[in-house]
Amino acid sequence: MNRNKFILLPLLLALALTIALSGCSGSDSNANKNGNASGKGEAAATTGADSGKDPVTLEVWGRWEEMTSQINETISEFQQQYPYITVKYATVPAAQYVAQVQAAISGNTLPDLFGYNPAISTTQLSNLGVIQPINDVLTEEEKAEYYKGTWSQGYTVVNEDTYAFPLFNPMRPSMVMYYNKAALKEAGLTEADIPKTWDGLYEFSKKVKENTGGKIYGLVVGIKPQSFLSGVIMQMATAVKPEVSPADSFNYKTGKYEFNSPGIVQGLELFKKLQDEKLLHPNSLLMSYREGTSMMEAGQAVLTMDGSFLGSQLNKDKLDNYGAAPLPTLDGKPQYAAFQGESRVSLYVAKSTKHFEEAKLFLQFLKEHLYPKLVRDGIEYSPIPAVNEATKVENPIAEQALKIQSETFKLIPRPFERNQETLKVVVETSGKMPKQTLSDVIEGYLTGQIQDVNQVLTQLTEESNKVFESAIEKVRSEGGNVSPSDYAFEDWQPFTPYNP
């Protein structure tokens, strides 16, 4: 028995010590993992008490990895200007962002500021009472500096109150084609050969494979989640049937979903042809978008298609080796990306925050100090045109991509501007659209599991319209004044900004 005590006591002591030590080190290691600048802030915060203000810590959740460096730089400057405020910024992986916000809402543990996500509309969050208005962060004069359409119902504004603070230019991201110059040269081709049409893309891919003996492919596009191939095809399809929005395959002339539009079907058939003739890099079917673009960077394929943000993520030491070009379309005709006033990169202030004044200070600081950095480093244009014109983009590829993007985006009809009750339909359809998406259909078609893609897309269209119509009926049954005609804009001319 005494021997057992001799063994047990040290073990218990060791356990207690381990628990105590791990508790002490927790918050610092978390902060460093997220790459935020809280270290300096904590040192500064201890002097905050000296300046007479109680130290404040602001917790911020973002989901945009591409701007981590710029926001940390801005946070450092902010904490130097306001030593009593520490900002703990965390980039939450996109795949788990919705789940994390959902859990935080349920547990009433939202951070002081958190980012917008298209899956959870501003209207929903406002209805739940978890975000608060930030009307006095910007004056009306300051708001007028932003791109037209930035302050839109259901996105940044609900009724008369502003809820979201935009960080990026709202007209983003468009899909762009990138190329590797060294791989292009090895294939015996030049930048003049970069395709502008679908036939051109096919011939280009054939030439690359033949000229390199199969060592290099013409095109690589990762289709596994996360993938942007559906966005690529929908954008290219606007050159065939522009009434169908590339954002969500909704036809704003008829007021219905149209996944089986000729442009989308033909776009899919193009990629199927490339796949079947082994002109699309075979690993495309296994990789995510980022893995796919890495293969282009490594020279295993000449072309890749991705969002405009890829420009700022390419290897900075090899930028001379890359180029950007618009996506090819069926016969070279114009294409567009749709803008409906959605500021996809914006921050909310949680209603549960105990530091509303400090949160407002932070947002105002971001306007002055973050926006120029985003443009300087080619991450994204800011939401203020004057800042974009005054700031030089130091990344030439990002500059090319952003220029293509700004020429691609067009303002399309917005049902919520015509009838605000349509926002209730957005809430009602949330999470209920078919789980089989266009991305899934692309995968099934390219792997040969779907033989008749038109039939599957027609089924997807019917199921989506069924959910949409049911949502309208439900809103009407609850007293809402909304009808399918709110979504049909017969006077709209695609490619022309819609200003009723």
Binding site: Q102, Q124, K224, P282, L286, K435
Partner: protein
């Protein structure tokens, strides 16, 4: 009952209490509440105020995607069981041979996949079974078995074969240990007697080992089958349920409605799907549990026959 015994029992309950509280909080309560949630159209946030009765259950049962995932689960479970049981039995027989040197090392090597995180296995194997410039294809091409790379994970049938093979490999060590435990619990006098009667090794296995191991075998069958119903982590990282839902499993189907719905989660619908799946697993357990009981009777007869 003496005071000492009462005190012992009280201490036992005290030590059990934390585990019991956790069991209630994280297992029993969620299961009970899922039955409640399944009757509502609820996103998981806000009040439970949209009662829909059995609509969620009806929608799940009418959803072809659910049945696709269920069918895939059954296929995976079936082949996992059919391939694992005999091969692990043979491995256990070999590793139970007294004259085999390095038995401990072999057991450790075979058990290593069991303790490796399934999600990591999925990520690593995704690159090994990739298309171009992937290890598996390169080895087969260099051996002359293939002329060009095969898309192992890009073909629906091949992806399921890879998933099953990886599942068998991962579980191999665990089932082998079960068999070994069973083999080592068998009475040695029976085998000594058979040896004295001139029975060879294969005859011993056929007429003694297998009948005596029947109860253990049915328990192993039950455990393996149930294991085959939960394969979320490896499927998510290895195939993502693809290509095009060819390896979609019910766990992943439910996850999609809760965490990847493209909007607010559909907690009510996902709860209904979970209940239907849970009841299926329960039915399977009852069926296989019946086999365990029946085989217990057969063992008694086998032992009686030996004694006679």
């Amino acid at each position: 009952m003496s005071i000492r015994r009462k005190r012992k029992i009280a201490w036992s309950y005290l030590f059990l209490a934390p585990q019991f509280v956790l069991l209630v909080a994280f297992t029993i309560y969620p299961i009970l509440m899922s039955y409640v949630y399944s009757l509502y159209d609820w996103s998981g946030i806000g009040p439970l105020d949209d009662f829909v009765g059995l609509s969620n259950f009806r929608a799940v049962l009418e959803d072809s995607s659910f049945w696709n995932a269920f069918r895939n689960n059954m296929i995976y479970m079936f082949f996992l069981t059919v391939l694992s049981l005999p091969t692990t039995f043979v491995a256990a027989l070999i590793l139970n041979l007294k004259f085999l040197r390095g038995r401990t090392a072999y057991r450790t090597l075979l058990f290593l996949p069991v303790v490796t995180t399934a999600a990591i296995i999925g990520i690593v194997l995704k690159f090994i079974f990739g298309n171009d410039n992937a290890l598996f294809n390169n080895v087969l091409i260099s051996l002359g078995i293939l002329k060009e790379p095969v898309g192992w994970l890009a073909d629906p049938t091949k992806a399921m074969i890879v998933l099953i093979a990886v599942g068998v490999w991962k579980l191999f060590g665990m089932i082998m240990i079960y068999w070994l435990a069973g083999l080592q619990s068998l009475p040695s006098e029976v085998f000594d007697a058979a040896k004295m009667d001139g029975a060879g090794y294969l005859a011993t296995v056929r007429y003694l080992t297998i009948p005596l191991l029947l109860p253990v075998a049915t328990v192993i069958l039950l455990l393996t089958a149930l294991n085959g119903m939960h394969v979320f982590d490896m499927v998510t990282t290895l195939t993502g349920g693809g290509p095009y839902f060819a390896t979609d499993m019910v766990d992943l189907y439910i996850y999609r409605y809760v965490f990847a719905s493209g909007g607010f989660p559909q907690m009510g619908y996902a709860s209904a799907a979970g209940i239907i799946f849970g009841l299926s697993i329960f039915a399977l357990s009852v069926l296989l549990g019946g086999l365990v009981r029946v085989s217990g009777g057969k063992k008694a007869r086998a032992e009686a026959g030996l004694g006679g």
